[in-house]
Amino acid sequence: MSAKGFVRNFPPLNILTEEQVQQIHRAALDILETTGIRVESERARKICETGGCKVDRENNRVRFPPGLVVESLRKCPSSFHMSALDPNNDIIVGGNVTYMSLFAGLRTVDLNTWETKIPTTKDQDDACKIADGLEFVYASTSYTPYSELSDEPPAMMLPVTTCSRLKHFSKISRVGTTMGSHVFEIQMAQALGVDIYGAFECQPPLTWAEDASDCGIACAEAGFPVEPGCAGSMGGAHPVTIAGALVTAIAEVMSATVLVQLVRPGNPIIVNAFDFPQNMRTGDFNFGAIGGYLFAAGWNQFWRTTYGIPIMNGTPGPTNSKSIDFQCGYEKALGVLICCLSGANIINYVGGLTAELVYHPVQSVLDNDVAGYVGRFLEGIKVDDETLAVDLIEETGPIPGFYLNKAHTRKWWKMEQFLPYAADMLTYTEWMRTGKKGALELAKERADYLLKSWESKLPPGKEEELNKILEECRRWYEKTGRI
């Protein structure tokens, strides 16, 4: 039985006309045919060449014929099933269903001083355990929750964090992609008999690093879904205009999809782009900026209305704010709403705070609540004889009639209302009496509770198997000088 996710029961938000979508489509195909992609890997270049692309080895440029691109995209399934460690957390990706996923942060943060702290592997494990208990989270990106660990060398970051998630987070994980870690991460997933999806992160503009295409190829060969993605700064690595950024991002992800389909026709794909306006003072990303959400809405509409390929967004994961405050609240919440309304299927949202610098489990609890809040909106208004309640209305009549004591109310109120886990819903008097706790305090309590109540879902013997693969990875990195 798979997780229900949030089912959107009304038409998605479209912000482009059909003609605009086709203009973007044609432009992306033109770019792939005339400019092409810089492909660092000879293995990837050979696959593309055999598949019908033009390869210029002098400058590692691969050009993609439009017919091949369109044919490849049409091979992608419009939905697919993924098996998690706990079958109740299986997901069906695609269509009008949205699942929330963890975002990532380099470090954690002190909730009093808002200064970052480098986490330990125990912090990593604990964050995974808390996330495992979050009701509306069903997946995770890679290098998550943390990507800098004080008690592990940087090269081990990916395999260590994947191993931690597979042990402590019984939901779907992404793997990859630097330094060939995906080889061992795939083995870990296969040891557990779970599905993962593989990162194929294009480097904007218009470039595949060798690690990225290697991971995409390996995951496809292993039969796992692949996430071709890109992360451009609009005005830096992508054009500053949102339309131009869409063209470039779509071209990049289309090209990666072609490679995956050449390796394994019909392989599941979920397309992702993580574009933000460039901060024109610092050169960094303007995380949380509305331009990023215009991009996301356009991205979602494009893929939904052209090829129907499942879609991922990561835009509402990070915020520019350095603390859990009003700015963090509005940047992330408005953003995840836009992503949901415009039809994303997996949203890397939960737990991210400052830029890609910080993740915090307390933020993950708060984001889980926002996810539930937005998810309730997506479900819409159920209209049928029972919910119209005409008979009940007639029976109840005018004052002194009321509804609180009716069976109809007892049956329906929990389905109609959303109850957050960490929001203040008390009366003012009760709030004063119980310590004036706000959402942050309540989220801390909830995080503590989720940590204490976590139970492992690993079958016997599997933890040892995962540890063995992790140590093989460590020895390989030592042998090859990465550690």
Binding site: L106, I118, A155, Q203, R281, G283
Partner: protein, 212 residues
């Protein structure tokens, strides 16, 4: 308006072709190439001050730097031919470390350093540590600037520093590091001399590093 004034205006207008053409005309009019260099530096300082005051933004800074570099390429050739010595703040070798092909940050820093009076040797991306050492030797560089965007490639910066020590060059260069994966603590832990988060700040640090 003399050609030199028009060269300065071309930089203010972010006009790359204009800068090149007015540089040629400036020299044809017999202007002292050293004075021309100083005028270009003056224009960049003006742009930099306006950026610092919040009146201009990164696209303006980089646009002006690109225009300045186009003019400088012409003028520096003339300085070389004249046998005179151009005043340079220093020689910088800059690159992105091995395993990392990100280039935008590095390219921005390189452009701004050039426009601000440094000789810059940009050795590109995905650069193995021994090539950094080689470039420093060949160019007699006194500043090394390294970029790393990924957490997993940041340790390459330490490899470069170790290689410089082994080559007996560590004391001859000031090392600055940057990139999304880099922090002040990391820079300190690997023995770098400084870290800055943005390209304009990197230029200010290079000016501090510049030999007197």
């Amino acid at each position: 308006m003399a050609a030199l004034d028009k060269l300065v205006q071309a930089i203010r207008d972010y006009d790359v072709d204009g800068s090149k053409n007015w540089a040629i005309k400036t020299l044809a009019e017999g202007a002292d190439p050293i004075k021309a260099l100083e005028s270009v530096s003056g224009a960049m300082k003006e742009i930099g001050d306006l950026f610092g005051a919040g009146e201009l933004w990164l696209p303006d800074l980089i646009g002006a730097a690109d225009a300045a570099m186009a003019g400088l390429a012409i003028i520096e050739e003339a300085v070389l031919k004249s046998g005179k010595q151009a005043k340079r703040l220093g020689t910088v070798v800059i690159g992105t470390v091995f395993g990392d092909i990100h280039s935008i940050g590095k390219t921005m820093v390189a452009a701004l350093l050039t426009a601000n009076g440094f000789k810059v040797v940009d050795i590109g991306t995905n650069v193995p540590h021994d090539q950094f050492v080689q470039a420093i030797k060949e160019n007699n560089a006194n500043i090394l600037a390294m970029s790393a965007i990924l957490t997993t490639t940041a340790p390459e910066q330490l490899k470069v520093i170790k290689a410089l020590k082994e080559a007996g060059l560590r004391d001859k260069v000031k090392i600055m590091v940057g990139g999304a994966a880099i922090t002040t603590e990391f820079a300190k832990s690997i023995g770098a001399d400084g870290y800055r988060a943005t390209a304009p700040e990197a230029v200010e640090l290079a000016k501090i590093f510049a030999p007197a």
